[in-house]
């Protein structure tokens, strides 16, 4: 049964009486006034109508839904972490040291020379990267470069972030093998190329084998190579973007470093760059000076991409995770993520056209509708994969179990996939049946937008 809206439990209208003059205040405000016992029940019940990683498998491809270690929450909740961003550097040596160390860790992991922690999410990291590329070209007298090349299989944010930076997006088709088509790339590159944005392994889980050639081609064209960190969980300890020729990269800390996604955020999208680009990093940056850690403005800084310093508690969690796992743990995370994806794939009845893949694979639902497959999987108590994307695979089921599943968990997940694979279209179309809500009418929601309780009767 549905949990009523707070507004259905109570609506209390309060006449605003204030120490301010009347003409500077509103007349009234109407909001629910519900005592704490009922509020607690409200939110507990709502939580029970929500599925998270702790509920079961969450093989959402490209989202890397890892277990969120609970101790990192305790780390982020330490009272000494709760500080105001305008505090003097001298009084925040602990915060700055932790940030400097995280910059250092990320640099080592990505093979990058300098890292900013300011971008508050992966997409913000991409946009920061675009700003950096722009500033770099400007500084080199190449401000005319106004194109960013993006493969068709890239995340939507790549396109949108480039566009937000004012760039024209040049989309290139993937080759038949699911990787960058070098001819298409060659055709797309030119004197106006500012950058190529690339995910590696790409969204099909395939390593871009020609990455060194790609890097050479982009660099020869005068462009920069940008690494989308969404799939970094596949490579930890085995390959580094910096070593492959990438000039700029972002990290998705919730994907790679197990910070919780929180139903949509907050995230953090630190950006790493090579030495040549370090002087452009956002303001302020952190370094160790003679009198301890200090904040400073890089010489040709692009300025700010967040009002303050980004999502600090998320950064604490990422730091604690990296610090706990160390080399051994990080390498093992990738190894098991790749093994789990390969093992799961091995058990599936669905066809997987492309490989060898790493931490994720894209199966094809074949004659079935991939979105229906997903809805039906919900009935088996598991979260479905990402569907219908990338479009290179028909009726795509983009699947990423991550390293947190046990063998028997993967077996159960495979059973769910295979059960659905054997079902008819009618069954799929009428799913789900065992969930809090049955299939929700998306069209009606968009046709008649009701976006607050004020819009309800």
């Amino acid at each position: 049964t549905n949990e009523p809206l707070l507004s259905e439990k109570d609506q209390t209208s309060v006449d605003v009486d204030s120490p301010l003059p009347d003409d500077l205040t509103r007349d009234e405000i109407e909001l629910p006034s519900v005592e704490e016992p009922e509020l607690a029940r409200h939110y507990v019940r709502l939580s029970q109508q929500n599925y998270g990683v702790d509920s079961g498998p969450y093989p959402l491809g490209s989202c890397t839904m890892k277990y969120n270690p609970r101790f990192t929450e305790d780390a982020a909740a330490l009272p000494a972490a709760a500080v105001h961003p305008d505090r003097s550097a001298g009084s925040l040596q602990g915060t700055l040291e932790l940030m400097a160390d995280l910059q250092d860790y990320l640099g080592r992991i990505g093979g990058m020379d300098a890292v900013t922690l300011q971008p508050p999410a992966g997409a913000a990291g991409e946009f920061t990267g675009i700003l950096l590329a722009e500033a770099y070209h400007e500084a080199n007298g190449e401000g005319h470069r106004d194109e960013v090349v993006v493969p068709d299989a890239a995340h939507g944010t790549n396109f949108a972030s480039a566009a937000l930076g004012g760039y024209d997006v040049v989309e290139i088709p993937s080759g038949d093998d699911g990787r960058v088509d070098l001819d298409a790339l060659e055709a797309a590159l030119g004197e106006n190329t500012a950058a190529l944005m690339l995910t590696n392994p790409n969204t099909l889980g395939l390593f871009e084998r020609d990455i060194e050639t790609v890097a050479e081609m982009v660099h020869d064209a005068g462009g920069l190579l940008y690494y989308d960190g969404a799939n970094l969980n596949a490579l930890l300890g085995r390959a580094r973007p910096g070593d492959m020729g990438f000039d700029i990269m972002h990290f998705n800390v919730h994907k790679t470093f197990a910070t919780p996604h929180g139903g949509g955020g907050p995230g953090a999208g630190p950006v790493g760059v090579t030495e040549d680009l370090a002087e452009f990093l956002p303001d302020p940056h952190i370094r160790e000076g003679t009198n301890g850690y200090e904040l400073y403005t890089p010489e040709r800084s692009v300025g700010k991409v967040h009002g303050f310093q980004g999502n600090w508690p998320v950064l604490v969690k990422a730091f604690a995770y990296i610090d706990r796992l160390g080399d051994d743990g990080l390498g093992d995370a990738s190894a098991k993520a790749v093994l789990n994806a390969n093992y799961l794939a091995e058990q599936l009845d669905y066809d997987i056209p492309l490989g060898p893949f790493h931490h994720e694979f894209v199966a094809s639902a074949g004659d079935q509708d991939a979105a229906d497959v997903a809805k039906r999987m919900l009935d088996y108590g598991v979260h479905p994969p990402t569907t219908k994307w990338p479009e290179l695979v028909d009726e795509a089921l983009m699947t990423e179990p991550t390293e947190i599943e046990t063998k028997s968990g993967l077996d159960d997940l495979a059973d769910a996939f295979n059960a659905v694979a054997g079902e008819d279209d009618e069954t799929l179309a009428s799913a789900p049946n065992r969930t809090t809500a049955r299939r929700i009418d998306q069209t009606a929601a968009a046709r008649n937008p009701r976006l607050s309780w004020h819009d309800l009767d």
Binding site: D17, G156, N252, G310, A437
Partner: protein, 440 residues
């Protein structure tokens, strides 16, 4: 210690799985050219949970334990225990964006209730789930203004009191859109209507003002600002926050077209600037709104159900023509803010806001008693904070106060800014004594 404690397959399972996959070693599964293989070390030692927690604690313990009288965009209010208790529930914090609404009704309803709160506070028709913070929300507002304005235009006007930080973000976000950001004048901590009037023209796409302002002052002529913007078909964007809005003039009543702000004043402790960008606007701009929107629909059984809606605005569908590049947002912070607001209720919100008018008034009066301090410097009403003039150099006063255990802003050579809320009010007397001590 070897391996990740969060990688589930046991040694025996790993063997069995390798067998099933048909390789001897997991390394064979990595299709990485030899030449780009990494054979080095990060040089990070694995640690026990206890040791890792201690390492974080060890670093953070180097922060000085100061009582903060800091604001200017980032504020602290007492956060009820219910917020942590609920928001840390696994089902909420470990979930992803609600792409499968049939199993995420709980979070969708939470976000819908959050949107509803902002609609009530602003009086505007719609609010999204969140932007990153006030600065990025302001930037998105400018981009929205650029998109929705009938005529092409290139200027965005913001008042002098806006933080440089925010203006920098605004400029970065609008840099790709042929928009220039300009400051307009202020007078005694409020918008200078004459200055605004002098500069506003038909090339302006958006006029911005704040209430309360970054200086802590209450704006007294918002209606006129709105009218000026309207006269030139520019959008009027107002910056505020959910607590202040519960008593200050309702944004819609002063003609605001967009409201931005930081709702992390609710639900979050100070967090080195973590935000929760408010974005509310008129219904007519619905299809140009950035970010996520939760709407109401029905399921197969005809039961009311919530879902993300109008996703064709977003990057994962519209790519380079999306209304914004935002994907991951601040949903969990919105959950926390929503719980805090619900816990306060209408009465509690108004009481808190009123307290935030009285506290700075009283503190300013107390500081004004001190020789060498004039407070407040603006002849306005204040919310949470105010500026004070110091005969001595303000940076030196701030530094001396730090030695006494207090943090304040030194915003100019002889100007301090002081913020007081329910969270630090208990230390007001000691603070006044410390100011006296270091200035007299």
């Amino acid at each position: 210690m070897s391996g990740s404690p969060y990688a589930a397959p046991s040694e025996a399972d790993t063997e069995a799985m390798l067998d099933a996959v048909g390789v001897d070693d997991v390394d064979e599964l990595f299709d990485i050219p030899e030449s780009v293989r990494f054979d080095g070390e990060f040089g990070i030692d694995a640690k026990s949970e206890q040791a890792a927690l201690r390492e974080t604690k060890r670093r953070l313990s180097k922060n000085d334990d100061l009582t903060e009288f800091l604001g200017r965009g980032h504020y602290e209010h007492y956060v009820p225990s219910l917020v942590d208790s609920v928001s840390q529930r696994s089902e909420f914090i470990t979930s992803y964006t609600q792409y499968q609404p049939e199993v995420t009704q709980g979070f969708l309803q939470v976000l819908f209730e959050y949107q509803s709160l902002l609609v009530e506070l602003t009086g505007l028709g719609i609010a999204n789930c969140s932007m990153y913070d006030e600065a990025t929300a302001l930037a998105e507002a400018a981009l929205l203004a650029k998109r929705v304005r009938a005529a092409d235009g290139h200027r965005v006007l913001v008042p002098e009191y806006v933080r440089d930080n925010y203006v920098s973000v605004l400029k970065n976000y609008t840099g790709g859109s042929d928009v220039t950001v300009e400051r307009y004048g202020t007078d005694d901590g409020n918008v200078d209507l004459a200055a605004l009037e002098a500069t506003v023209d038909d090339d302006v796409v958006m006029v911005y003002a704040e209430n309360p302002t970054t200086l802590g002052t209450v704006e007294e002529n918002l209606g006129a600002v709105g009218d000026l913007a309207d006269d030139h078909d520019a959008l009027f964007c107002l910056g505020s926050d959910p607590v202040a809005m519960s008593v200050l003039q309702r944004p819609v009543d002063v003609g605001a077209d967009v409201v931005v702000g930081d709702a992390s004043v609710l639900g979050m402790p100070t967090s080195y600037g973590t935000g929760l960008g408010v974005f509310a606007t008129r219904e007519e701009f619905l299809r140009q709104v950035p970010g996520r929107l939760v709407g109401v629909s029905e399921d197969e059984d005809g039961t009311r159900a919530f879902t993300l809606t109008l996703q064709t605005r977003e990057q994962h569908i519209r790519k380079e023509r999306a209304t914004s590049n935002i994907c991951t947002n601040q949903a969990w912070v919105a959950l926390r803010a929503g719980i805090h607001a619900a816990w306060l209720g209408a009465d509690g919100l108004v009481d808190l806001a009123n307290e935030l008018v009285e506290l700075p008034r009283d503190l300013a009066a107390d500081l004004n008693e001190i020789r060498g301090i004039q407070a407040p410097i603006h002849d306005r009403h204040h919310v949470r904070e105010f500026q004070a003039r110091t005969d001595q150099p303000a940076p030196a006063v701030a530094s001396d106060l730090e030695s006494e255990g207090f943090a304040v802003h030194a915003v100019d050579n002889h100007i301090l800014q002081v913020c007081i809320t329910d969270a630090n009010a208990h230390a007001a007397d000691e603070f006044v004594a410390a100011v006296r001590e270091v200035t007299e």
